[in-house]
Symmetry: C2
Subunit: 214 residues, 2 copies
């Protein structure tokens, strides 16, 4: 069974992830070429804020102050966002789908290591609110206008993945309870390797869906 | 009875008001000195986005494209926001309470001139989601640490009001249907004058509540 420290760390990391996703999606929405795209990305931001609130409430139920629980994860998540600030609308769309999608897959794997109510909460806050169709439509429309963006967006996706992995490694190295949860949950090195393979495969599927593979 | 053009204009102005309030509150939340204040201002942003969605849905029911209905109001609202960009957390808090409060009072007055379902919708989207208590607490805490900010915040509030009035005048001068709704609803010059007096009095009450008067 994971310790309360590990649960509070996991929920704190997720909660700050949602709060910063809210913040970044709201900011990236401004790059939308038209009001309806802006409204749709703003809707995603508001949706993530709803998830933040569920996580903050659960932290409070566990007797933890949400702000304190989130604090260790502010620096690594801000570092991720500052290293992956989109410079175009399509980069923002791809980040919302590919970057957030990969983070969700990773959290879903870790959710298998915790108690049932926490797992159900994590699965609820990871639902993507229809952003796959949105990303697909926006990227297809963008590539039709300017097909040369394909290579650039493929590179951008690789950068998102690289920076995300780098920050996950920093966090695990710093948070013993979280590392223990992760290692015990995965079982052994082979278990960790299978987990990473699954997350990578789902990432590749998203890239194929967007037409950014191969 | 107001024309459909006037209703679409009114709802379009309100809808863009909510979408831009979402955007600005999300941005201003970043200046919060601590994570809990940031989460609270982000919550206000998400709340305004919910209001935006109700207004966009109503516009669609009326057969209007929400993006088209909002377009005439993008420039004046962005102008208002760019002339009143807060440079401190407390300026942002005061703007969220005093600026948005005055806008809400104005819309509430205009709501008296339209049909009952539209009036009910407008009253719903103007509910402030508890920001009065939030503003009061944050401003009191800020003034305790640094009482010299009082004069500066009082000036800031006057600036918010001045810029808001200036943009309302621009909008009414540009949108005939909206001007007709306003003038017919108020009845005559004396009616307009009483409306302005009521809005001003409520503004003064908010200033007193914050301790920024006299």
């Amino acid at each position: 069974m994971p310790t309360t420290d590990a649960l509070v760390d996991l929920l704190g990391a997720l909660a700050y992830g949602e709060l910063s996703a809210f913040d970044r999606l709201a900011e990236d929405a401004r790059m939308a070429p038209a009001l309806d795209g802006r409204a749709q990305m703003s809707a995603m931001a508001a949706y993530e804020f709803g998830h933040y609130r569920l996580l903050a409430d659960r932290l409070a139920e566990l007797g933890a102050d949400p702000a304190v629980a989130m604090t260790p994860f502010v620096a690594p998540l801000e570092q991720y966002h500052s290293l992956t600030t989109p410079s175009t609308w399509l980069e923002g769309v791809v980040k919302a789908y590919v970057g957030d999608g990969m983070a969700a897959d990773f959290y879903r794997e870790v959710a298998a290591f915790v108690d049932e109510p926490t797992r159900a909460l994590i699965e609820e806050v990871l639902s993507d609110g229809g952003r796959a169709e949105f990303a697909l439509r926006e990227v297809a429309a963008g590539l039709e206008v300017s097909p040369t963006q394909r290579g650039r967006l493929a590179l951008w996706s690789r950068r998102l993945v690289g920076e995300a992995i780098s920050q996950v490694q920093h966090v695990l190295a710093d948070r013993d309870a979280l590392m223990a949860l992760f290692v015990e949950g995965a079982g052994d090195l082979a278990g960790i390797s299978r987990l990473v393979t699954r997350v990578t495969e789902r990432h590749e599927r998203r890239m194929t869906t967007l037409g950014l593979n191969g």
